[in-house]
């Protein structure tokens, strides 16, 4: 029984890592700041939740589990707030998102 839970936990972790790598690739390939912020913060919080769930399964009832929940709570509180502030700052300083045709050359190439 313990082995099964551990395997499910590590499956969650692998899923979280996959999501994280997808987000990282997204941050590299997306055309402008806002889409990158979108890619990064969604996958960060998603990967954090999945990984915390996976590790909770592996840790079981122990002080580590409580610390894991605190870490998860902390990430949930700070990561979106930071992303919001970042987007607000970028918008405030004159960066405008690229609307309409995605095939238009992105900021990198201009």
């Amino acid at each position: 029984m313990l082995e099964a839970i551990a395997w499910i936990g590590s499956a969650f972790i692998i899923a979280a890592v996959g999501l994280s790598i997808a987000g990282a690739v997204g941050v590299l390939r997306f055309p402008d700041v806002y889409t990158r912020i979108h890619a990064a913060s969604i996958t960060d919080t998603g990967a954090a939740s999945l990984m915390t769930l996976g590790m909770l399964l592996m840790a079981g009832l122990s002080p580590a589990a409580i610390k894991l929940c605190i870490v998860w709570l902390f990430i949930m509180l700070t990561s979106p707030a930071a992303a919001h502030a970042l987007a607000g700052a970028a918008f405030g300083s004159g960066h405008r998102p690229i609307l309409g045709d995605p095939r238009r050359p992105s900021e990198d190439e201009t």
Partner: protein, 99 residues
């Protein structure tokens, strides 16, 4: 299994460093550092289990805290050109195009 997870996270962090170096605008760089920090927090938690000492999550909490604070500081520096000014006084929507 955990080692594979840790290696995957390492790749994601490497990609973030690439964005940090390439990032045309300053906000790409701040984003890269913020995302790198969050991934480091997850890495610490995962490594705690990989090396069999899960009670090192205190370090992960400090990481998340420091990551949040340095992101706000970086954002204030790039956007408002000052550290000491209260955020409230310099409303965020003031139009000052910069890097």
């Amino acid at each position: 299994m955990l080692a594979a997870g840790v290696a995957g996270l390492l790749i994601a962090m490497g990609l973030m460093v690439v964005r940090l170096l390439r990032g045309p605008t300053a906000y790409d760089r701040v984003l890269a550092v913020n995302s790198f920090g969050t991934k480091t927090v997850l890495m610490i938690a995962l490594m705690g289990f990989a090396v069999g000492r899960p009670d090192f999550l205190d370090v992960a909490i400090v990481y998340a805290l420091i990551n949040f604070i340095s992101t706000i500081a970086l954002m204030k520096v790039f956007r408002l050109r000052s550290l000491g000014e209260p955020l409230a006084r310099l409303s965020m929507s003031r139009e000052t195009p910069d890097a």
